[in-house]
């Protein structure tokens, strides 16, 4: 008992569960808080930027009869520059965080992340192929799909690598976590090598595009990009809540989930499709934005618990919030220029994650 008390006091840094173990009330309160935080960040982001169009002019403009009453310049700044950026950032933040949460639930491992286990690189390879070969070898094919070619290629890159990974790591219905991580590393290396060949063949402009694309950025946000990636991401986000029950059951293992009445294979298929779609689309329009998918679900599990019916919507909200904050930071640090957002999320996210791991060391086995 003494040992148990000791463990409890050491682990007192994280939020303790309620005495009756029911964290749903707290989860709902935190989700409500995240909704409010998101709305605040949404309006703040809309009202801040390189130009002096301010939050208050946006706000009073809206109050006084919609955006039409604003000066034309402000209207363009808000409607064509800031709003697409805020919308795209929200979509991508939500999609990365939810993909991470679903992936971790599917593999029953808090370290699974589309970026780490090779899905991201697969989607990246698809996108790089279009960037480099789009104007030459693949032009006839790309021409058919137009602006949708890039997200589609990333989408299929993501799906193919997810499926490969799952095939390799799963045997007789049991997914081996070690195999999954190793296979993910191998798959990432392979995708990296193939991307390398394309980089080798690329010209200077393509190289520059590739480099910035790889760092991740919301700088090119436009309504066209939102129309290309938004529907895929929204569909994936809409599908996620239906996975919650199955993912909760899967936490006990696939056999037990089946005993509880879950169609395990169907849940796996849906989860794989959701992750591949969301990751593929996000990577395509914004490049490689790291650590959102690991940090956000992990942080939320510590506060509201791992039940997916709360974890998934909360991840979407916190992911969107995090990306809006990171985007604001990326624009402020070196204003009037801006940093690629992937640099910001990794710079903020990686040390924070290390800190969590240090605090948790020896207490709970990951």
């Amino acid at each position: 008992m003494a040992l148990r008390d000791n463990v409890a006091s050491v682990s007192g840094w994280r939020w303790r569960a309620e005495a009756d173990g029911d964290r749903s009330a707290r989860a709902r309160a935190i989700i409500l808080g995240l909704v409010l935080l998101y709305l605040l960040l949404f309006l703040t982001s809309l009202g801040s930027g390189a130009s002096d169009t301010s939050f208050w002019s946006v706000f009073s403009g809206w109050l006084g009869g919609g955006t039409d009453s604003l000066p034309l310049r402000d209207r363009v700044v808000i409607w064509d520059i800031r709003l697409p950026r805020v919308v795209l950032g929200s979509l991508i933040g939500a999609s990365l965080a939810v993909s991470g949460a679903v992936m971790q639930g599917l593999f029953r491992n808090p370290l699974a992340d589309p970026g780490i286990v090779g899905v991201g690189p697969g989607a990246g390879l698809g996108a790089i192929t279009v960037i480099v070969l789009g104007n030459t070898v693949l032009e006839p094919v790309i021409g058919i799909f137009g602006i949708y070619a890039l997200p589609l290629a990333a989408f299929f890159g993501g799906i193919v690598s997810t499926l490969l990974l799952y095939r390799v790591a799963t045997r007789r219905g049991q997914t081996s976590i070690a195999t999954m991580l190793l296979a993910g590393i191998a798959l990432g290396a392979l995708a990296g090598a193939l991307s390398g060949i394309l980089v080798y063949a690329a010209d200077d402009q393509e190289l520059r595009d590739l480099t910035f694309w790889g760092l991740g950025s919301l700088a090119g946000a436009s309504w066209a990009k939102i129309w290309a990636a938004g529907p895929i991401i929204l569909a994936a986000l809409a599908a996620a809540p239906f996975l919650a029950r199955g993912l909760d059951a899967m936490v006990l293992g696939e056999a037990s989930a089946n005993h509880l009445g879950i169609r395990v294979q169907r849940v796996k298929n849906c989860a794989i499709l959701t992750v591949a779609a969301a990751t593929g689309a996000s990577v395509a329009v914004a490049g490689g934005i790291g650590f959102v998918g690991i940090v956000v679900p992990h942080l939320l599990r510590l506060t509201i618990g791992p039940e997916h019916r709360y974890l998934l919507p909360a991840s979407a909200l916190l992911g969107a919030c995090l990306l809006l904050v990171s985007d604001a930071t990326s624009r402020m640090v070196v204003a009037p220029a801006e940093l690629p957002i992937g640099i910001v999320t990794a710079t903020l996210g990686a040390p924070f994650f290390l800190w969590i791991l240090l605090r948790q060391r020896g207490l709970l086995d990951l």
């Binding site: 309620e18 173990g21 964290r23 808090p110 909760d248 006990l252 009445g261």
Partner: protein, 270 residues
């Protein structure tokens, strides 16, 4: 109404690990599967749970298991696996609540809210609801899982059909008090009209609590019947490969096996 197992065979790779097992698990009874390590007990239970592909036929209350979708099977039976580890910080209550996922506990919605607490009380874990599952000892985790399984089939009979508990070594890491508590739960479940099929290692617990014993040896069912019928010196000695004398006290009329009466026949190869 029963779980009827007819000529069940299982292959794992090239090895045939189960050979044409026939058994009937009747409602109102506790059936124990006993046998030495590697005799196919767990494989048998897994096949009956629907985890493994098998040849032969398993019927649950007259319906063929093979054609049953998971949600339907989940309404008929709950399964306690040997060990469950979780990778996320679930509270005990959250784990037990997973048993209610299928929505066929049989309790009213009002009752269902308190069901995790009630189930925990049954397995002698009142007050543990707010603890983290990962911080519990092995025996406590095992009882949390049993509470979850009980939630799934809270009423032993639903819509006039008996329901079943399939338990794989439910008392393997428990102290003697909790062994008795868990076996009592199984007995009560059966007495209320449900059926229980459990893999057990302890022959004495089996003798005391089982109505039917199925003894397995090298993937075959070598005997089934009441403990008194199955536990005889010759059969037990043969199956467990050591000389055992089964005792029967006159009052209880249940056989017992003492380690003092058993002798290992060591092959003298050196």
């Amino acid at each position: 109404m029963a779980i009827d197992i007819d000529n069940l065979s299982v292959r794992l790779g090239r090895n045939q690990v189960l050979h044409k097992v026939c058994l009937s698990v009747k409602p109102g009874t506790v059936t124990a599967i006993v046998g030495p390590n590697g005799s196919g007990k767990t494989t048998f239970l897994k096949a009956v749970s629907g985890d493994l592909p098998f040849e032969g036929d398993v019927k649950v209350n007259g319906e063929t298991l093979r054609y049953m979708p998971p949600w339907q099977a989940a309404a008929h039976r709950a399964v306690l696996p040997q060990a469950s580890s979780l990778s996320f910080p679930y509270t005990v209550r959250e784990v037990v609540k997973l048993g209610l996922l299928g929505g066929r506990s049989g309790a009213t919605p009002a009752e269902e809210k308190r069901l995790p607490e009630k189930a925990l009380e049954r397995v002698d874990l009142s007050g543990f609801a707010g603890r983290f599952y990962q911080e519990l000892s092995g025996g406590e985790q095992q009882r949390v899982q049993l509470a979850r399984v009980l939630c799934q089939v809270w009423l032993p009979v639903l819509d006039g059909r008996p329901r079943y508990l399939l338990l794989d070594e439910p008392v393997s890491s428990l102290d003697i008090k909790h062994q008795l508590i868990i076996m009592n739960i199984a007995q009560t479940f059966a007495a209320s009209g449900g059926g229980v099929l459990a893999v057990l290692h302890d022959l004495n617990l089996t003798a005391r609590f089982a109505d039917q014993v199925a003894m397995m040896h090298r993937g075959r069912l070598v005997a089934s019947g009441t403990p008194n019928e199955v536990f005889n010196d010759e059969l037990v000695s043969d199956v467990f490969e050591c000389r055992i004398q089964v005792g029967v006290p006159p009052a209880e009329n249940r056989p017992y096996v003492l380690p003092q009466s058993a002798q290992i026949s060591v092959k003298s190869s050196f």
